[in-house]
Assembly symmetry: C2
Homo-oligomer: 369 residues x 2
Amino acid sequence: MITDSPVSYFKFSDLKSFAEQVFLKIGCNTDDAQLATSVLLKADLRGIDSHGLARLSGYVRLWQKNRINTQPFLKIIHETPSTATLDADSALGLISAPHAMKIAIKKANNCGSGWVAVKNSNHFGIGSYHALLASEQNMIGFAITNASPLVAPTFSAERLLGTNPLCWAFPAGKYPPIVIDMATSTAANGKLEIAQRLNKPIPLGWVQDKMGQVTADAHALKNGGALLPLGSSREMGSHKGFGLSAVVDLLSGVLSGANYGPWVPPFVAFLDPLTPPVGDGIGHFVGALRVDAFRPMEEFICHIDQWIDRFKSAKRIDSEQAIIIPGEPEFACETERNSTGIPLVEAVIVDLKKLGEELGISTDFLCLY
Amino acid sequence: MITDSPVSYFKFSDLKSFAEQVFLKIGCNTDDAQLATSVLLKADLRGIDSHGLARLSGYVRLWQKNRINTQPFLKIIHETPSTATLDADSALGLISAPHAMKIAIKKANNCGSGWVAVKNSNHFGIGSYHALLASEQNMIGFAITNASPLVAPTFSAERLLGTNPLCWAFPAGKYPPIVIDMATSTAANGKLEIAQRLNKPIPLGWVQDKMGQVTADAHALKNGGALLPLGSSREMGSHKGFGLSAVVDLLSGVLSGANYGPWVPPFVAFLDPLTPPVGDGIGHFVGALRVDAFRPMEEFICHIDQWIDRFKSAKRIDSEQAIIIPGEPEFACETERNSTGIPLVEAVIVDLKKLGEELGISTDFLCLY
């Protein structure tokens, strides 16, 4: 396993206050600054460190390039009783995706399910934040987004798809919700960045070089290579990973009216989007299915718990290695970090200090540990 | 690539007539016999040979064991404007799944989307048959089913999940629909059966033995081993394949009120289901999203075609190997087999002859070639 060693732990309240000030500084109103912070910090709490404060400066850079509108007017441009299309007016995805999920939940309350496609948006953080909004309401939540092109389709040497994550959240009873939140590539970019920082080789099957040959070089992606779809090779089913990634792109991009494939605007501000675009911004697609639109909630909960019990007690290959229910490690991490605070690696601390200095926000709390 | 050599080609009309007679013989009415045949033969036409006539005798064996009701009363037991739960009364899945999709399509026509969970059903053939019913109506189709336990979760030596396929179908304009129809395991059982017949080793990453160790032995599954989830190993993302399989099981089984996990009744009639069951029969979940509930159909079609154009023209790794759009090979196969007829391997021919003899249906057409 390739893992960074965290350097220091910080108080949740300090990080929250800092991030909120950053979002206020770039023009968000108080509600939006709190919401965006809450989505970002949920990633840090759940141990998805690549999608938390590590990205904060990235959003600021996009705002500086006028690619993010911090005072957006979110507008439903198409609607039926169970569906809607939302024009996010170049908002932070951290704002537009929870907004879209609220619409989906309202529609599900009215007619059993709600599905909202979002265009003209930006990076939405972790899908599980949005999907969990539904599971908290006794609904099954769904959240997907397309993303900057980094993944090559099977048989191609070209990056045409993002890591295009998909997330499902199912409410449970005595257990935390079951949450499947996964990139549709074999490895997420965050893991690669860690290997690059440590200058370590990566397992064969994560990345191909610019000629399309599988490589252990963590830097190959930066040098014109690509991430591989889940499955890694044709023989091991990479066409399935490609297919899943295509589903995410088609629902998030083509159905909503956003960009898709290689036209999805890059997250990094130093790369310009392709012109002319084929749609508006990046796209998301979220959904909520009311459990009691299918069967009574108490029955469902009882069987979900039984499902979890059965899988947790499955025969192990290695007696020391438990079977992991999807979402279980993230929930455990959240519980732990709520008491220990949040670990940040040196590179992120340096980045946040620089950001604070630039925007005139104190980062003294980063020096106290 | 491990492939059987087809032995002989048969006329579509002969095979259709034969299968219809079989379904009539076991008690289906004319409409149901035609529908079940049409679902089965769609698999043979599309080149998914494991799910076509090769399975016909399997359905008969289940009927003989009173596990399939050929005169079912399909009943909606729970309903909202955009959702329903269908009790299939032990019907053939070949009948209940298209029925469920018709309900979903009707709901989508009324309120933008329709989602139907099915319990008390049986094997539904290929998901793409059902999902394509939606795409033919300018909707995005979704069809999943749980299945006999053959797949081990990551870190487990126990079979707890089926190959749990998932299918999405997207209508296109100048191209055939984009169809993602995939088992959530690395390899489908059909491929393994071929390797067993040929007595060939299989690629490492498809199967583990009964101790949970990866093996090249195609017979390991029969000897207490298990298929591996898409991703094959933890390092290559098998927890993602496990997560996808779990989604299919939770929506098809737990949400509908069907069995789930190891309780899903085996397709082979010589294995009895676990008792007591945790639900009714096996479960499916189908959905339809009206495209024009999100954006005008003509805009969508134009962009889907552009998506396909862009991916087809992507830079190739090997100049001889084109990038494959999901569903493209199956559509090409269907076109070809509509003129050449349908190839059957010797084992299937023998099986059909035996079935015909047993049920008193002529199989002379199987000897003419």
